[in-house]
Subunit: 328 residues, 2 copies
Amino acid sequence: MSIRIGIYGYGNLGRGVESAIMQSSDLTLVGIFTRRNPKTVKTVFEGIPVYHADEVESMTDKIDVMVICGGSATDLPEQTPMLAKAFNVIDSFDTHAKIPEHFERVDASAKNGGKVAVISVGWDPGMFSVNRVYADSILANGSTYTFWGKGVSQGHSDAIRRIDGVLDGKQYTIPVESALEAVRSGSAPELTTRQKHLRECFVVAKEGADKARIENEIKTMPNYFADYDTTVHFITAEELKEKHSGIPHGGFVIRSGKTGKELENTHVIEYSLKLDSNPEFTASVLVAYARAAYRLACEGQTGCKTVFDIPPAYLSPKSAEQLRHDYL
Amino acid sequence: MSIRIGIYGYGNLGRGVESAIMQSSDLTLVGIFTRRNPKTVKTVFEGIPVYHADEVESMTDKIDVMVICGGSATDLPEQTPMLAKAFNVIDSFDTHAKIPEHFERVDASAKNGGKVAVISVGWDPGMFSVNRVYADSILANGSTYTFWGKGVSQGHSDAIRRIDGVLDGKQYTIPVESALEAVRSGSAPELTTRQKHLRECFVVAKEGADKARIENEIKTMPNYFADYDTTVHFITAEELKEKHSGIPHGGFVIRSGKTGKELENTHVIEYSLKLDSNPEFTASVLVAYARAAYRLACEGQTGCKTVFDIPPAYLSPKSAEQLRHDYL
């Protein structure tokens, strides 16, 4: 029996979820829900039903799990608690500081509706979080480091685009290679923000704009760039489109820790991702956890869960016997 | 309240478990059980009670989880089912082909006794297995590779020592760097056994032994060396002791997979370990899963589990709230 999935919200992430579902034989895509006029939405695959978001209430018995693909700033804080009353849901809420609050609201809704919700699914939060917990639990004496990149930061790219005189821009977050090597050596270095990541910006300026002023505004922007070594390259709109239209990302979670009577032995655990498409990989994680949410719901569980609460076996389409035989 | 742990079997692995427990504030080491004369056993830390294995039956109400530290060849197939009748248990059974059979026997015993058993805990099987399942579940279209090393293979070192004319020997398994790079590139290469790993041997020969014959016997040994590019170095007993007395190990689990409508985007997930002491790291994993076994038992669960069945949060001494706040 196929698990019936709905997609709520249809941007890059929703399109990635669509592809991931179409390529999973145990999942069926029931439909896409959008706040736009459904007739104007062109899906990646042909023949996928598109509904207006308002129609969602009539579909509660047709969907086993709803994958919510809205943004963390304003969409998910409202959508996930609302939908968790009537559907098993997954979201990728990634505002780290607000996760406890989001969890509480979604948990109350899901328990109220007798549904399962899994929040903050993706790679960070998500697979990186899982790896931080495994590594810290195994190596009790140690230090954990997370590096991001090389990849495009949407938030930093947006910040560049808001500067007067900028037509378009892309920002890459890049881990500092020497910092990575120091961490991998097991020396447990103390690293400042500046020592961990570089920021590289590709900017298309308006004709006649003051490039020196733009560069200075970027490099001194608080929170976004001021604490980093930042390089700014001015390029043409054509070059930006040709060389920087992808949305790659990735990163590293590394823990080094010590064991033995005198803590004389050092161990290094490293998890890394190299992603051609940030939203498509995030979508693939969401879809695997949608499978898990369905299984939890079938067991009669309710309420909000995170990646920490879900056994690895629940993500796989394979049976427990198969997993033990093929993967253990 | 502290979780009360026992250690059954006391070699390198048992000593590693002892240290890991002594360094975990939520765990108490109740005692060590050995088949030797307890009076002859010197523990790593002072004051640890040592009991004869026969005394274990009288300790059922004093131990929450027994960590079984025997070998996979003959100890664990007998000890784990026997002890699972009366204790929650963890073992590191690592004979891959016999895991399904071991699982069934341990499951029957544990269910019978109303206990929880977790088998095949360590890094492979163990953390590598978990990472294979996560990666395969997320990237449905792809290829997974496991590389081992650089590290000492006990089985291959033993095989060298059985050769006539050999006094002592150590064998290192080494991943082929170019194979690692090919896999990391996402090109999903087909790799033969010989293309994935090298074997490097350090051998102490008896005086007057025919080194050419020993080298040939090693390099042509079926299953162990014949399918690999193997190098043999003859060294003195002193040099072996000085430079090769450690038991480092490690390895890599890498999956590359494709997403998108036309599978046009490639992603690479890599998990790696670099371990100074193979038994101490394995011990650290066992101890984290002992914590999980205790929690499962407190929930009233019974029967045999593997790393696939256990949520990451169960390994951590921290609460669910703390984990969400600090790690998500």
